[in-house]
């Protein structure tokens, strides 16, 4: 890592180092050496990973990354397009000027982003950068992965005998998204959120700015995606399934257990309904909590939010989202299920 930080210094000065100075270890060199070393050590690495538990860990790790990358790329392309081609005045016209009204409008707009949570983080970052009020961008960030048509259809297919689950998921998720937006508008301080900065685009072509944004976001959010995937794979490989059985008996514990499970498993919001549908020993309300919490906050998302908005933001935003999501799920469950 120390070597990785040495390289940008060259970039900050913007000039290639003077030729008479001995060159430091640059990142392309480190990368080449690292790759060569790993190719040479191929067979010991393979042997170390051949134990069933390690194999299972690696498979889940690779699966989470491969599954999320296409959606991350989609979100990154969208966010680059917003950052480069959509003028800030567009959002000023499209969203109501009063933040209190902009929040529910942005929350509803989440219904049109067809993807899972990996796509919504970079798009929300681009919206803030383009001058959208953070409260509205956050409502969009929370609602988009939960209430888009793909996710709702998947929920309907996973719960063929309980169509009310679809309505409950939609209502509970939108409720949390708007509540979080309004809360942020009331209580949030500008200093908590590190506004995503990008190099200025003046003096460069739009193409250069677009691809620069794509490169930066994939490398950045992708790195945090890897952190989240490692955490999810570890917990799936280590935590035994039998823990869940003991929790299912107590209604309060059941809700909490599935909410925590949603955070830990970090499953894509397009698939979570199928997973939780098979946990028939749990009440519908507990399963709703899983569906509301999962798309809004999980390990992978927390890592990605830290990367995009800074840790001061994520440490405040994530726990509050978690609590509100559970409350909203219980409330909606009591009324609808």
């Amino acid at each position: 890592m120390a070597i990785g930080q040495a390289a940008p210094r060259d970039e900050r000065t913007g000039r290639p180092p003077p030729p008479e100075q001995p060159r430091r270890l640059t990142s392309p060199l480190v990368l080449t050496l690292l790759l060569l070393l790993l190719v040479l050590l191929q067979s010991p690495i393979r042997r170390a990973l051949s134990a069933p538990m390690m194999q299972s860990w690696t498979t889940v790790f690779v699966a989470v990354v491969i599954q999320a990358l296409p959606f991350l790329v989609l979100g990154v392309l969208l966010s680059a397009a917003i950052a480069v081609y959509v003028p800030p005045s567009f959002f000023a016209r499209a969203l109501p000027s009063r933040p209190a009204l902009a929040v529910p409008v942005a929350g509803m707009a989440g219904a049109v982003l067809p993807g899972c949570e990996c796509a919504s983080v970079p798009v929300a970052g681009a919206l803030v950068r383009r001058g959208v009020t953070p409260a509205a961008a956050l409502a969009f960030l929370l609602s988009a992965p939960a209430i888009n048509p793909i996710v709702l259809t998947a929920t309907a297919i996973a719960f063929p005998r309980h169509p009310e689950m679809v309505v409950a998921r939609f209502v509970a998720s939108l409720l949390v998204a708007c509540a979080m937006g309004w809360l942020w508008q009331r209580l949030g301080r500008p200093g908590w959120m590190r506004t995503p900065t990008h190099a200025h685009h003046e003096g460069r072509t739009r193409g250069a700015a677009f691809w620069d944004s794509v490169r930066h976001d994939v490398m950045h959010a992708g790195g945090f995606l890897v952190v989240g995937a490692m955490a999810a794979a570890t917990l799936k490989a280590v935590a035994p399934d039998s823990w869940l059985r003991t929790a299912a008996g107590n209604p309060l514990l059941a809700v909490l257990a599935l909410a925590v499970l949603a955070v830990v498993l970090s499953i894509c919001s397009e698939a979570d309904a199928f997973v939780v549908a098979s946990l028939t020993q749990f009440s519908l309300t507990a399963r709703l909590a899983f569906l509301v919490v999962g798309p809004m906050i999980d390990l992978k998302l927390f890592a990605m939010q830290t990367g995009t908005f800074g840790s001061a933001f994520a440490l405040r935003f994530a726990p509050l989202t978690f609590v509100l999501a559970i409350a909203s799920a219980v409330l909606t469950g009591a009324v609808l299920l």
Binding site: G4, Q5, A7, P8, R12, T13, R15, P16, T26, S27, L31, L34, L35, L38, I45, P52, M53, Q55, S56, T58, T59, F61, V62, A63, V64, I66, Q67, L69, P70, V73, L77, T197, H198, A199, H200, E202, W211, D212, V214, R215, V218, M219, H220, G223, F224, V226, A229, M230, A232, D241, L244, R245, L265, I267, E270, A271, D272, F274, S278, Q281
Partner: protein, 239 residues
């Protein structure tokens, strides 16, 4: 990591996605329906890598410093090398008996029991057989020889199961569906061996020790080892 190395990582990542998507490798990790998205995103990553290298070269030629303080490039990007290596060098196999024995059976009551073709032996998936046997008391299976393909898993007591992992999106959400084997089972059963088993319905049933789910049984007539199928997962819950 400077921009040249970033371009290299992006390029390799794109190549890895294209490699996984054009071979059957991706089927070990994600559902078959994700293939077009994998290929598209792989291509986008390669274009992004080429564009980065191209603009970087032009910038170097013009010797132009970027305006204002440059955004420090994040060290976390180095982690992207890990999935690259896991995919290209290790290429871990699809989930097998280790996860199957640790996770409860995900068998759900089928919505309907469509009538079966009159072929003999009748080819069925693990999920289809288990659903009909457990929830329809084998009504549509009586007097039929059925043929099922899955991998072997042994529980602590040594009872053999024929298992298929049911997958909805990616391996992180894969859950096993299990059928117990009795009758003429092979004397030595290695976990994770793929078998095509021919047998008949039996009313015997047990409960999964992990989640108390229903596990129907199959009375085995013959069992023969087969290579791992192209798609090791059962994706019927998707449709």
């Amino acid at each position: 990591m400077n921009r040249q190395s970033q371009a290299a990582v992006l390029f390799l990542l794109g190549v890895a996605l294209l490699h996984a998507g054009t071979t059957d490798l991706y089927l070990r990790y994600v559902k078959a329906g994700l293939q077009p998205l994998l290929l598209a995103s792989g291509s986008v990553l390669i274009v992004a890598a080429l564009a980065t290298a191209w603009y970087e070269r032009r910038r170097a030629k013009e010797m132009r410093a970027p305006k204002g303080p440059a955004h420090p490039e994040p060290g976390v990007s180095w982690l992207l090398v890990l999935p690259l290596l896991a995919l290209m060098l290790v290429a871990p196999p699809a989930l097998g008996s280790y996860d199957a024995t640790r996770t409860g059976t995900a068998l759900q009551e089928p919505l309907a029991y469509p009538s079966l073709p009159a072929t003999d032996p009748l080819r069925l998936s693990v999920v289809d057989y288990a659903g009909r046997a457990a929830y329809d008391h084998g009504r549509t299976l009586s007097g039929r020889r059925v043929q099922i393909t899955g991998f072997v898993a042994l529980d602590r007591a040594g009872t053999p199961y024929l298992v298929r992992m049911a997958l909805n999106c990616c391996a992180a959400d894969a859950q096993p569906v299990k059928i117990g084997l009795i009758g003429d089972t092979p004397p030595v059963l290695q976990p994770d061996t793929w078998l095509t088993v021919t047998g008949t319905y039996t009313a015997r049933e047990s409960r999964d020790p992990v989640n108390d789910g229903r596990i129907p049984f199959l009375d085995v007539l013959t069992a023969k080892p087969v290579p791992t199928p192209r798609d090791p997962y059962d994706e019927s819950y998707n449709n």
